[in-house]
Point group: C2
Chain length 259, copies 2
């Protein structure tokens, strides 16, 4: 399987110009939430040991959004992922880092400067929200690793991929009250504390526990579940799940402006 | 001047492939506010009498955003326009309407199907906010007219340009509390009623006058000016101007969620 994908990729290096729309790529900021931390899924390139966002090119007969969905699906093995296009990164500057040069040399490509991978690309940034435990990260043919990294401790990334992550977070912050953020990041049932942690991480500040609980419950978007007795029963918090209907209705007008 | 631009354009039809980044264009939704109405600036194409958003291509050594700025400047004769990229329109479908075909025939281009203008383009949508009275609309070389149209009464538009306007409005609605909307649409001094009309138009609903006035004044972002006595003095409303410093500070956290 991996071997097949590698051959497919070597073939594409030679035929990509005929397959793909020139100048435009997609990059995906895949956000997961685990152990109280916001994480993004990154690939480690074999040819230069640098890290990069999962991304790819757009087939000539493919919608740009479908290219992003394809990339997300290949890297996470998940379908029906929540994703949002958030920005087109279109500066000339970003094409100056010729990060594929070494790869093309290794593959014995002639006339590297004229190769389609070396041309200028603008990239459409998409963010995705996934339930961390459901993802089975799979490296692409260029990469040796596909792993989660805390957004507060990112490794060196190619080109402008760090700025792409930062912009994605910034947009997510603005959209927090209009998008089903918690719904897509959390499992079916969860303690309110987990939801609060997500809000705190996206907003970049601590929130008062009682205040958050009062506000979030006031929307009628959470259903209280049976208390889950696991060991120290008196300490176990109530678990909740989203009431999908009232949640999506509340998002239409936006939730609280201030948390 | 107009004649020169026409020659320049004819030349570009033949040389554009070498000048421009393939696959990517920009389209600008230029919002103005006049006589209580939200308007957009549209071009009427000579070759098919259809209307279109002001747009253009991206030079190979030009940032995508700078291409949008160039288009805005050429059509409005204004510099330093407030603009925001809001969406990349990337569906395959949009390349199916070959609206330039007649133009290429008229220009005697051979092998029209292979011409660069006939290839698939994805387009980056930018919205701009301008002070209506400052704009001197100038058609481009393709167009016979460049005029304002009320967003509630749009003519037939090429490709997906109507959806681009709708998406621009939708994003503007979401950003109303975070972007200096009134500041860019209104003249230096204005009655509060004008600002209320802008909010009502963007939000698509009537607002209570006293309530709006109370809320907007509570932010301390408006400076009251001398009453302007013009004729029926007892009826003249107070005029206000934005206090730029406190306005931009207030926007960082966002204004009221509900108006």
């Amino acid at each position: 399987m991996q071997h097949q994908e590698t051959n497919f990729f070597k073939e594409q290096l030679r035929t990509g110009e005929a397959l793909y729309l020139p100048s435009i790529s997609v990059d995906c900021v895949i956000f997961g939430f685990h152990a109280g931390q916001f994480k993004v899924l990154l690939l480690k390139y074999k040819h230069n040991n640098k890290w990069a966002l999962p991304g790819g090119f757009v087939y000539k007969d493919e919608d740009v959004e479908n290219a992003a969905i394809r990339v997300l699906n290949e890297r996470t093995q998940l379908k029906d992922i929540f994703l949002q296009q958030f920005y087109l990164f279109g500066d000339v500057e970003r094409s100056k880092e010729k990060h594929a040069e070494k790869l093309l040399q290794e593959e014995g490509i002639e006339d590297i400067d004229a190769h389609w991978l070396q041309q200028r690309f603008v990239t459409a940034g998409y963010y995705a929200l996934v339930e961390y435990n459901k993802v089975k990260p799979v490296p692409d043919a260029l990469s040796s690793e596909c792993t989660w990294h805390s957004i507060t401790d990112l490794p060196d990334l190619i080109i402008d991929h760090k700025q792409i992550i930062e912009k994605g977070l910034q947009v997510l912050r603005r959209q927090l009250n209009f998008q089903p953020v918690g719904y897509n990041l959390l499992p079916e049932v969860f303690p309110i504390k987990e939801l609060q942690l997500i809000y705190e991480t996206i907003l970049g500040k601590k929130l008062d526990r009682a205040n958050f609980q009062r506000k979030i419950l006031s929307y009628g978007i959470l259903d209280k579940k049976e208390k889950h007795y696991s060991g120290g029963a008196h300490k176990a918090p109530y678990l909740y799940s989203f009431n999908k209907e009232s949640y999506f209705k509340a998002l239409e007008n936006g939730l609280a402006k201030e948390w």
